[in-house]
Symmetry: C2
Subunit: 331 residues, 2 copies
């Protein structure tokens, strides 16, 4: 096993205060590694970075078309959203459309990350509900597929037809069996895989148009939905949203809990998977930006880039006290 490499450094004044190490793989459409940092075969939990894979059965089963879902619904199915009104209004309408309600969810209630929505709830004396869960789009996709299949209500059970369909799709696009699964923050199963396998899956999405069959067609639709609606995949101010916009739709991006990040690059037919070993999101955001700059896809001087890979650390009086930047020698 190869040790993780330094990916991001946190400087305060002239002092290196903190360091983030990680593993990353760039994979081509044949499944071969183009470049790697650290250990490409390390077993990882891709968490929410696997949402576009978990959405494949929704599309390839015909459920998405049977329920006349739009591209924005597919983007929400792949989202870890802020629970701003643009997200929750669409999730509520989608639930209504399929004849399901908030109490059919199994994701749990979560305080909105969107400050306007959070404060509106507090002022109204209301508790956050499951629609505010950052995964509520994925779960509405699960509910849609559940109804389409006529399956039971406990759609997050590992043995449920929805999750078994997700597992089959996951192992197929990763090109390897999953060594096991865990329970994610939203109670859905999350499947383990090698980092290489996850990058291979992202290369599958990147090269979907070269492949045949309903799965490849579904992968292309989901990837296009993500870049068409970057604000639905995460939200204003977030890395996925801002960096996808900065690249003008050329690359699909998705973060995951515990510092996971993926990139799907159709024009090069490449997939990227990245894990910062300490679970720090700021480290993963800096590292994925550095890789995208190295690949010539992201402008190093774009404000969205500078916010992640040369990010000033401002204190409570907005004084610049330090910077987050790629580690020396990484990318």
């Amino acid at each position: 096993m190869t040790n993780p490499v330094p990916m991001a450094e946190v400087w305060r004044g002239d002092f290196l205060e903190s360091v983030h190490h990680g593993h990353a793989v760039i994979c081509d459409d044949s499944g071969q590694i183009v470049e790697a940092w650290g250990d490409p075969e390390i077993v990882v939990l891709p968490r929410s970075s696997s949402k576009m894979i978990q959405a494949l059965p929704l599309v390839e089963s015909g459920a998405a078309d049977a329920y006349r879902l739009w591209e924005e619904h597919l983007a929400l199915a792949c989202a870890s959203h802020n629970a701003a009104a643009i997200h929750t209004d669409r999730v509520q309408a989608w639930l209504d459309h399929i004849g399901r309600g908030e109490d059919d969810f199994r994701c749990g209630a979560q305080e909105p990350r969107d400050i306007e929505m959070r404060d509106a709830l507090i002022r109204a004396g209301q508790q956050p509900c499951q629609i505010h869960n950052n995964c509520s789009g994925k779960h509405t996709g699960f509910l849609t597929l559940t109804k389409h299949l006529g399956a039971g209500p406990d759609y997050v059970d590992f043995d449920h037809p929805v999750q078994q369909a997700c597992l089959e799709a996951f192992e197929d696009v990763c090109g390897e069996p999953s060594p096991g699964h865990v329970i994610d923050g939203c109670s859905a199963p999350n499947f383990a895989v090698s980092l290489h396998g996850m990058a291979r899956a992202m290369a599958y999405f990147a090269s979907a148009e070269d492949r045949s069959g309903v799965r490849a067609e579904a992968a292309a639709r989901l990837r296009k939905a993500m870049v068409a609606y970057p604000e639905l995949v995460a939200g204003e101010g977030r890395a996925c949203t801002e960096l996808m916009r900065a690249m003008g739709g050329r690359v699909a991006l998705k973060t995951g809990a515990e510092a996971f990040f993926i990139a799907i690059i159709p024009e090069r037919k490449l997939g990227v998977a990245l894990k910062v070993t300490d679970g720090s999101t700021r480290g993963a955001e800096c590292a994925i930006a550095a890789i995208l700059v190295k690949l010539g896809l992201l402008d190093p001087n774009h404000p969205a880039t500078l916010k992640r890979m040369n990010a000033p650390i401002r204190n409570w009086r907005a004084i610049d006290t330090g910077i987050i930047r790629p580690a020396a020698g990484f990318c």
Copy 2:
């Protein structure tokens, strides 16, 4: 330089998902290292873990007695508090008492960590102010000393008499010159030091009764204030507060930003300083708890201990999905 060692592991199901590495030193009252992990001579920024040192000039100058400060004020001067009412009411009263106001602060406004206070502000349509800054106790101490010295209003300037007094005290108790300073989150200078030097300073506080002079007397008073008012040093639910309570006042604890932690152990005349290299608070809390258990000071089965070093990771539906625990082989 010795590499940092694995200190804490984050497991999800059967998979090791994230790891935190760090450096730590236990130092005795002669300044010698009793035990160390990683590199004891690494230069660190102790951040808020140095607040009891930054409060020394307030006491040793005579300002604390001139203004008849109580033990609870000294605890607040060492605090990174939640901005609950127990903290903000006392800071406001202390400001009134010294004839100063919120606009004399230089710490900046910060949203309260205390949810009740945060929500009350939002419902009232009020913005957080500088009194809600987690460092407002330290800054009231700075203002008290500033007034006592008849010094100028910009008390966070490195050249200000208050900060120069802090630096002199810092280098004295650390037993080594500081290689430089940075600007902290609250805009005060924060002095760099070796991890060994910081542990030596904590051993100074632990053995203050064996020493003579106003500085040693001030150190003993501040240490006693911290353990007498654990709820003022941090707040309900926080590691410093809960672990100090769990040890019944035998040990003073203080966290700092970017995963710093210290312990002051009077009965053994020991000081502990710890830095998790990735800046993750959960890692530092797990590691300091593990060291305190190893030293026989903290009950491994106390709920406050279990919350840090065998902490269940519960998801949005309160399902146990994983655990944070000390790394194999650490302590």
